[in-house]
């Protein structure tokens, strides 16, 4: 039970996280999906950051967030979507907008991209809606 306490605390804190606005039920669902996926990477020693980014994405469009990463760390960016969005993908771009090769995991309403940056600095993570209608998504990331 004690081992599960941090997970429980994480959920409680995320529910009250400093997002600046109330989240919709769909965003909460999308965040749960993203956290479920990120949880898989903890088996490999990744720590999930206690922060997230939720929003909406339209068909054939993407949502983009800037992140600042450190060379030497490995990262996984995990995203979850809520209905009516049914298939998403996660892609990473460097500070000049060039797509970065990543390991990927795509499974319908959840997707992840992982890589080890050669240089520290700013990167961009995009959430692409591949199938379904405009809907909510949530992104979390893990590092080790």
């Amino acid at each position: 039970m004690k081992q599960l306490l941090p997970i429980f605390l994480l959920i409680v804190v995320l529910a009250a996280g400093p997002s600046g606005r109330a989240e919709t039920d769909a965003e909460v669902q999308a965040r749960k999906t993203a956290l479920d996926l990120a949880g898989a990477f903890t088996n490999d020693g990744f720590k999930t950051r206690d922060g997230h980014w939720c929003g909406t994405v339209k068909p054939n469009d993407h949502a983009l967030v800037a992140v600042n990463l450190y060379a030497g760390n490995e990262y996984w960016f995990s995203a979850g979507a809520a209905e009516p969005s049914t298939k998403i993908a996660v892609n990473v771009y460097d500070e000049n907008g060039n797509q970065v090769p990543t390991d990927t995991h795509n499974a319908g309403d959840k997707a992840a991209a992982g890589f080890s940056p050669a240089n520290s600095g700013q990167y961009f993570v995009s959430i692409d809606l591949l199938e379904g209608q405009a809907g909510s998504f949530c992104l979390v990331y893990s590092y080790k």
Binding site: N68, A71, G72, Q99, P101, S120
Partner: protein, 270 residues
Amino acid sequence: MICSMRLSVISLAGVIFAATSAESGRLPTDQLEKAVRSDSISIPTPAELFAALEKPAKTNWSSQYRGPMPMTYRNRAQIALNLGGLIADGFIAVEAKDSQQVKNIGSDIIKLAKALGVSESLLTRGNSINEFAEHNEWDTLNEELEATQNEVKASMQSHSDQDLVILVSVGGWIRGTQVVTGVIMQNYDERSAKVLRQPALVKLMQSKVNEISPELRNEPLVKVVSQELTDIEKLVSFPPGKVPTVDEVRKVNEAVGKVMQKIESKTTAK
């Protein structure tokens, strides 16, 4: 609920597969400029910085401890900046696996947070930090410190102290960078030095500081921090692939050390 979450994590781990994406696309500059930049995901935590630093060689974290600091600041901006620095100190103590130091810092974090009038529920966090430190649960302590930082920020937002949130992040980054540059100078390693390239991060923090209310922005300490961030941005703007030299690391260390001194000083703020 927790059981089902655990099951789902395990099943995901079982079916996960990895493929490699091809490098195929490019995003235009105007899209990059419009990208969302938020405190909760665009500004890394001290723990991420320390994780990268520790890869090449064992780090002597306890050599970076600092002496006790005043707990009687009256200026809210100064309290927020110092709170961020203290949280970074907490991560250092966790890296050093020093349970007494974690407990001392945890207690100081709660004192400063209470001075800002943040939620009483933080007291529970303080108890958790003590308990985890008592049982040497270092990974959990990292999560707990991060959660504490977020709870402080969430509480600030709910008390209409949104402007103080970025100051907590700035204080944490400055103290974290002071420690990291100190460690690199002690035992220079090119792989460690690469973590210092962060021009966009410093620019982001400075732009967020510039967005806060004019009243707070015009406070002497906030003005000093903002001006110093401009100089620090230049010092951490290495071209991609360029490894900072020992001398360049020293310059960053001196610059962040100077700001940290002003943040700690009881005479800087009104």
